[in-house]
Amino acid sequence: MWKQALWGWAFASLPSLGLAAPSLATATIVEGDFVLIRDATLYGLAEGARLQKDDIVQSNAAGRFMRFEFADGVIVDLAPNTRVMLSPKAGTDRGKIPPRLYLLQGTVKLSVPANVPASGTVLASANLDLPAVAKGVVVSAMPGETAAFAESGSIALVERRDFKPQPSQSLRSGQFYARTGDGKAQIVARPSSPFIQSLPKAFLDTLPPRLELFKGRDVLLKPSASSIAYADVQPWIDAEPALRPQFMTRWRVLTKSPEFRAGLVAGMQAHPEWDRLLFPERYRPKAQPGGTTHLARQPAP
């Protein structure tokens, strides 16, 4: 009995020691407020923080600029109001290897060194995936607007419509892809002026890698004083279908919070799969007279 308790304590301690999973990337620049959601805990991000698989990094307007660097040299810059997830399960049509990064919302800049071998999707998002990036690309996923700029080198781009991949296309260095809503995408020679204006200044500069500065320096993540609110993760809960199932197990524990539960219930039409979790009694077989059973209630459409 005491052995089981000891093992339980040891496993529970792993996340706080940063040993729960190997780190994929390191936050090397954090300007403004960026938060990390690991499992069901909210952390404030600081430079030197190690990021793991399934970590969610996001900011609001108070997050000015953030960069994290992968060990293989791939660099990801984040603009304000951006939400990304590292190496998530994102559906079988994106290949066996999870995408390196999933962009839910906002703008990211990816810099890929020449010596990084192609392995799986570099970036995935609801409206487009990037299976290959030669050198540098800026991708923006705003409500109703999707854009990609091949800053340097070519990129392979797969449009997604109704969450299904379309034939791959390629963008030459300097070309700009823009799509409004479900309309036809435009590929033009130059990025639009509003797109350029929307980028943080730091995106336009060549900032050197800083990963070396943080080697051997472990930064202990401090859990935020507040727990995850429904509004913090609602865009993820309502994300594309391929992404959503993992959040039900991940944030099941949060449904104990009345605020979180109320949020889920209020928006149930957008994530009906949570109905079964919140109201299991509705799905229990009911004994009927005559020995037959049937479901008490169908989930909300």
Binding site: E151, G174, L204
Partner: protein, 290 residues
């Protein structure tokens, strides 16, 4: 005519001649000096422009490489930065004008004017020529200019100036596809030109000339005054006194006081000779009386 007047007349003639000759020579030398000084300063400005261009090409442009993929920044162009720096320098030296004049510029403000085209053509015809100095008439008066050829020596520059297709899209977007392409390595494509109005070295030389001539005239006048004073004290005054004494003695005033020469110079010797002659005369007169 009195001795002092004769002396002063001669002195004034020599003074006038000396002042005229030295003035002419000094004026020429000062003008040449001011000319060279203006040219040296122009060369320094040109060297400054070259240094700024080189700094921009080697250190600034690489830092702006990413930004240039979004928007063309003229600050990354060596000729632009040197022109801007020289324009700032002109606030302290407004008389100097700088231009990187090009036959086929990307930026229209660098397009060579007619006379600048002629200068560039001279560099084209004689590739070994490294500098050209000339003068020209302008509405504001005559102007002095110094020009050096602009040649492409860095192959990286061809990325923006070889063909429209090879040029960065933001550059074509900003300046259009018509100008600034087809440049060739090591060929005179333009000229750095620093112009300065001729009135600048002339005024500078004139200011120095007035000072030099003023000093020269002052020295001449001082010398003249000193010579007059010395001539009067050492020669004219003792000779006049001796002459008056000789007159009195010749009129029979044999007991007139002796003349004491203040110094043992030629006047002193003359005075001694006159005293001896007077004594001999007194002695002879006494012998005649007895």
């Amino acid at each position: 005519m009195k001795l002092l007047l004769k002396f002063n007349l001669v002195f004034l003639v020599v003074f006038a001649l000396g002042l005229a000759v030295s003035g002419t020579v000094a004026r020429k030398l000062l003008q040449n000096g001011a000319h060279e000084e203006v040219l040296d300063r122009a060369r320094l400005m040109m060297e400054n422009a070259l240094a700024v261009s080189s700094y921009t090409a080697n250190q600034v442009a690489p830092l702006l490489e990413t930004q240039m993929k979004y928007t063309f920044l003229p600050q990354s162009v060596p000729a632009y930065s040197s022109t801007e720096v020289l324009n700032a320098l002109r606030k302290a030296h407004p008389e100097y004008a700088y231009k990187a004049a090009m036959l086929n510029p990307t930026n229209p403000r660098d397009r060579a004017q007619d006379w600048e085209e002629d200068v560039i053509m001279q560099f084209k015809q004689d590739p070994s020529r490294t500098e050209f100095i000339g003068e020209r008439d302008t509405p504001a008066g005559r102007s002095l200019y110094i020009a050096r050829p602009i040649k492409l020596s860095n192959a990286n520059c061809l990325r923006c100036h070889s063909t429209v297709d090879a040029a960065p899209a933001p550059l074509v977007e900003k300046y259009g596809p018509a100008n600034g392409f087809g440049w060739v390595m090591n060929e005179a494509l333009g000229a750095q030109v620093v112009s300065v109005p001729m009135s600048v070295p002339m005024e500078r030389a004139d200011r120095a000339f007035v000072v030099v001539m003023g000093l020269l005239a002052s020295v001449f006048l001082l010398i003249g005054a000193a010579l007059n004073l010395m001539l009067w004290r050492l020669v004219i005054r003792p000779v006049s006194q001796l002459s008056k004494l000789a007159d009195r003695v010749s009129l029979g005033e044999l007991d007139a006081p002796e003349f004491k020469a203040p110094a043992r110079d030629e006047i002193g010797v003359l005075s001694d000779s006159f005293s001896r002659m007077r004594k001999s005369l007194v002695h002879a007169m006494k012998m005649l009386d007895t």
